[in-house]
Symmetry: D2
Subunit: 162 residues, 4 copies
């Protein structure tokens, strides 16, 4: 079963202190990913990361948490596979590079660094009420906008099915 | 099922170009871990890493490969959960810190760095024909010696059952 | 002499393949930093990094290059102090965290990741024709705009003099 | 002046809680390096690192501290050029890879990880009462033994003069 899902790893990124709405959105994104049999990757801590893991777990999905610290005990309770990198915020890069697509929900500067690392590596980013970018006064439309959790998950999975 | 195994992650480390004997030992260590329902963590590449993953997979075990590069495609074919850290040999630290015990099979200086990072973090290391250490001419017996794969896996699992 | 400058480290970030204008701007930023006795930190490679180091060197300034790879030989010829991190793009974080202020010149997604890591760590970012940000459709004005190299260096040094 | 020394970077590694003898040895190694115009690289914190920086500073040498944390303030007072990597113990790799030779003084498992990363990268290691290694019961004589600080510095500088 895991083997079957091997090729579908989706990262969910966002704030560790999200709004109530962002929390609901993240949980629904987690549920949708699990319903499609995709494995969820995240930074392993609280907020959006925990809500997404909670949603995925409730539908029997697999959840991976790539932690900044030295200790797997710091993972939220819905992380099934904790990875303790010990490299601090540099783990943000590992979160997105281990995924084939990234779904960003709101988020602050940590999330922005993950978006940047993903776009730099050519990994598609789907955004739900998150950052928008322009460079030298020209809009950069690399972040694919989604309307809601279902739309975000569909777009992520469609992008990696080719 | 994965949830049940959540607390038993064992790293297997060793050379990417092992001897034929080390390859056989690694494969048997992988099988034994899987038979006990433990999840295997490794550096995700070839040699001892691949042999251990092959052994674990043959018994239905779960395998995690924490890769040095930017791309999950570099994982050996028996890695079910590839993590692309993009941090080069610094990923050695993540391999051992994500485990509760480490089994070292032979190995060169990369393996020695993993043994050192594990001991530094207080994670027990079980050795099969691997490095031995002395400091300022005093033997350091921190590496727990094992006779064979079964002994190594038993020692690793006993150490983390408390 | 170095001791005196100990507290003034400014990072210059930007594209490895900049426009001709960005190259001129970067070189002038480097010169200005050196004229004020500030130490220049950068990612150590080509483009904006090299131009800034060239400018700083021409005025007798000190230049530090924090490299992604394993080998100091990869540094541009104007780097006096090369640091080989071996951690790939995760070194972007080290570039900004080692500085007290960051000057961003143009740049692509790698530069954006550096801006994000700096803002996340509370390190001020001065921008010259670089990224602008908005979050959930609200402008984020954290990047301090500068008109030209002199203005950028003045703003950076004023920010850290308090 | 710095330009002239560009090609001579020597790392000094050892315990953060050394013996009184190790502290004296480290300080003398720092002095000797400075007398030869070599730049000292270390992990930037206390113990052997601080003693070596103190010795080098007392002879007008240049000192670089590659720190594990996010903040240059953590550097010992004799570090002239602090680098804040934010990657924890993974910075051990950057300490040795930025040097052309490594002098190890005593040390615990963190030092052992640095020795291993250096040997893995082909960077020579000179040892003063530090670890000794054997692999599969065969001595590994890769660590070059030195009798005293002068001998260690001479051996390090001779190794990189070719």
């Amino acid at each position: 079963m895991i083997t079957k899902n091997k090729k579908r790893f989706i990262a969910v990124i966002g704030a560790s202190e999200p709004s109530a709405k962002e929390t609901r959105v993240a949980e629904e994104v987690g549920r949708e990913l699990a319903r499609h049999g995709a494995t969820l990757i995240c930074g392993g801590l609280g907020g959006v990361m925990e809500a997404a893991c909670k949603g995925a777990s409730s539908e029997g999905g697999v959840t991976i948490g790539i932690l900044p610290g030295d200790n797997c005990q710091a993972a939220n309770p819905y992380v099934q596979i904790p990875i303790a990198t010990g490299i601090g915020y540099a783990r943000n890069m590992a979160v997105v590079k281990s995924a084939q697509a990234v779904i960003a929900i709101g988020g602050s500067y940590g999330t922005l660094s993950e978006i940047a690392h993903a776009l730099q590596a050519g990994i598609p980013v789907i955004g739900l009420n998150t950052w928008s970018l322009s460079r030298d006064n020209q809009p950069d439309n690399s972040i694919i906008l989604a309307q809601d959790p279902t739309d975000a998950v569909n777009k992520a999975l469609n992008l990696i099915s080719h």
